[in-house]
């Protein structure tokens, strides 16, 4: 019994070795072909007359699956097909996570989608650009005038150098349909009870927070158990302490700006200070994001610093008792707001129908499309004027418009490197939990940044 077992074990191992080697050999051969692809389109010869392209079927991957996003997509696809009956849209809707985890495989495979929503940043769009899997849209942008549709800050979020070494400048690889801006939802009842007006300067805002705390209110409703909300609190304070262009350059940049900057240390000190003084919800470290904003929706808390994506939920919960403003700059400073765009629409470099794909992307980001997007409860990405329902929606839209007019949008800190999400969220939790000093905090962020930009990718 024991004899034959050890013998068969050896045979099993031997066969396993053969199998493994054979499969690895096959896999090794495969990899070299991925970066070849169809390459970039043939120079400036782009055709913007979509009706002349003959019968075309476009495969489109999107993640606009939730309520208002989905209805906008369905409506736009219908309108597009009515306008260009020769182009059929084959829509593949996936959840955000599903799209994230399958996109790389699909894009490098033999049948990539023609049009796809590729996420921003070094971790998501960067590798696709580097592997030459996305089409440079610069020629289409010139032909359709895409660059004029967006504010500079928004447009930069879709730009990469061809080697993906630099983010925020160079070729254009996508354009967004929706936008988002991080500001402050406030409870009008509590604000008037405290005898305060909507803050006009950063100093007013800080004074309001202090007064609310003194009156026994939850000054800033906040829950950081999910890790990412902390980025919004930190960066909102950071942008009142540093120059907007510095903050942008740090995220997009080439690694030259250092995070070890007086303004950043001051912002970190303020954040730690607010946490220890109890300006945030009690037990924020163990409170989830959803329960936190739901509490705000039940009337708990004067302020809630978060993104425009909560507009419809909070409007339903609080009716006319809730308002929205962008965190005002310090006396004499200029407006800087944390914000971003919905996932940018990109075109595969392997598509045989680049002209039709570009016509589609053009259509869903056109001025008319922005109204459809708005009507379905989303924030439109471009500067095109749209009519918005009165109330909270208007306040949010006006804030977003102002931020774009003043080119005040700065992207999220975690876009700076592929590992920055982990580093910054963990460090912010430590900072707010009194586990690290402001000086060590900025050093830790800088260390992650320097490591990435020194080429250790």
């Amino acid at each position: 019994m024991y004899l034959s077992r050890s013998r068969s074990m050896k045979l099993v191992l031997a066969i396993a070795a053969v199998f493994a080697l054979a499969m690895l050999a096959g896999c090794g051969e495969d990899k070299t072909s991925t970066s070849g692809g169809a390459g970039t389109s043939g120079g400036g010869g782009v055709n913007t007359d979509a009706a002349s392209l003959g019968d075309v079927t476009l495969t489109v991957w999107d993640q606009e699956v939730r309520g208002g996003q989905n209805s906008a997509m369905v409506e736009l696809n219908k309108q597009f097909h009515e306008k260009f009956p020769n182009i059929t849209i084959k829509r593949v809707a996936k959840s955000f996570t599903d799209l994230q985890t399958t996109l790389k495989l699909a894009a490098s495979g033999p049948n990539p989608p023609d049009v796809v929503e590729a996420n921003n940043g070094y971790a998501a769009m960067g590798p696709l650009v580097k592997a030459n899997l996305l089409l440079d849209l610069s020629d289409y942008s010139d032909a359709y005038g895409w660059a004029d549709r967006y504010s500079t800050g928004i447009l930069k979020m879709n730009q990469f150098s061809a080697d993906a070494a630099t983010f925020g400048s160079g070729n254009l690889y996508g354009v967004p349909m929706t936008g988002e801006v991080v500001g402050v939802y406030y409870n009008k009842d509590i604000l008037s009870k405290l005898g305060l007006d909507v803050p006009a300067t950063w100093e007013d805002f800080v004074a309001a927070v202090e007064k609310a705390k003194g009156a026994g209110e939850t000054a800033v409703q906040f829950g950081n158990l999910d890790k990412w909300p902390g980025i919004h609190e930190f960066e909102t304070i950071q942008l009142q302490n540093v120059d907007k262009d510095y903050a942008r350059n740090f995220i997009f940049g080439d690694g030259t700006p250092s995070f070890e900057d007086e303004g950043n240390t001051a912002a970190a000190t303020t954040l730690a200070d607010w946490a220890s003084k109890g300006y945030f919800t009690d037990g924020f470290a163990g409170l989830g994001y959803d329960p936190s904003w739901q509490d705000f929706g039940k009337g708990k808390g004067l302020f809630l610093i978060t993104g425009s994506w909560l507009t419809s939920d909070l409007g339903k919960a609080l009716g006319d008792k809730v308002g929205f403003f962008l965190v005002p700059p310090p006396e004499g400073g200029s407006l800087a707001s944390l914000g971003g765009e919905g996932l940018p629409w990109a075109i595969s470099s392997k598509t045989a129908n680049a002209d039709a794909a570009a016509a589609y992307v053009n259509f869903i980001t056109s001025d008319e499309a922005m109204q459809v997007v708005t009507d379905n409860g989303n924030l439109s990405a471009s500067k095109a004027p749209v009519t918005v329902p009165a109330g909270l929606d208007t306040e949010v839209y006006e804030a977003w418009k102002k931020a774009n007019d003043e080119d005040a949008i700065v992207p999220y800190l975690d876009w700076a490197t592929p590992t920055m999400y982990d580093t910054s969220t963990a460090e912010i939790q430590k900072l707010m939990g009194g586990q690290t000093s402001p000086a060590d905090f900025v050093s830790a962020i800088q260390a992650d940044y320097a490591k990435f930009h020194s080429g250790a990718r």
Partner: protein
Amino acid sequence: MRSSTPAHAEPGVVAEPAPAELLLGRALRSAKVSRRDPPGEPRHVGYLYILPAFAIYALFVLAPLGFAVWYSLHTWDGLLPMEWVGLDNYKEIFRSGPLRQAFGHSLVLIVFYAVLPVTLGLIMVAALSRARIRGQAAFRTVLFLPQVIPLVVVAVVWRMIYAPNNGSLNDFLGKVGLGSLERAWLGDFNLALYAVGFIGTWVATGLALVLFMSGVQRIPQSLYDAARVDGAGPVREFFAVTLPNLRGEIAVALTLTTIAALRNFDLVYITTQGGPGNQTSVPAFEVYNKAFQQGQIGLAAAIGITLAAMILVITFGITRISERGRA
């Protein structure tokens, strides 16, 4: 075991690395040399019978494992050609503070997932084996229930229980006058890992108990009678009769729960995402993080392989200890 491999068992001689076909040939030959088989059909025709099953196993288990090992020796973002880095990814695991921490946390979780449940299970079974309790089946079902609930649901529910402002745990503490102990359990730098671990204890205790109860029913009543005749009290009886006879069940329970502790992903993913700071990060969570969030597939594979090796060593240790003790 060694006696069965006469063909190349020269002590002190290190065999040169052999190509796979050679290995295969050797294995077959050595099978022939040491042949003391009964007459009839040649024995290795048997391998033909396991071939279909083995092919499937190789395709779905061994090949992916091979791929993972291969990836772990490269840096790869999933798109660009892989770059050979040798053992650098493994070195990175030891060099990087957060990753070392993650492996450390998984050892702490073994206490909560395996050691505590087995201990609690033994205490309960000791009590249950002495007295026949009415409604025992219902009792057993209730204790086993956590095993049946998907871990994701368990995690969501416990996140609510631990919630700082209206969670049941803090509510309870407040009502019994222990309000000073109220805290943001999952956000507490000193306690978050234990809070996550305790969920594991809650899940695994029922499994251990049910295993032990079926084991106890197998122990002949005569052993208990003999012990009682010899004047053994409940404690003595437990150590002299129950515990030695449950050795097999204990090994199974420890193995299952230790593996659950080490591969823990869902609980951490849902409850804390590894926070606060990195206080609750675990290797399996880091594998997901590195591979799908950060595009470091080589490093993720190296963490996975290291974790697999750790599981193998620990579970091997458990089985060895339980087998050695057997007379």
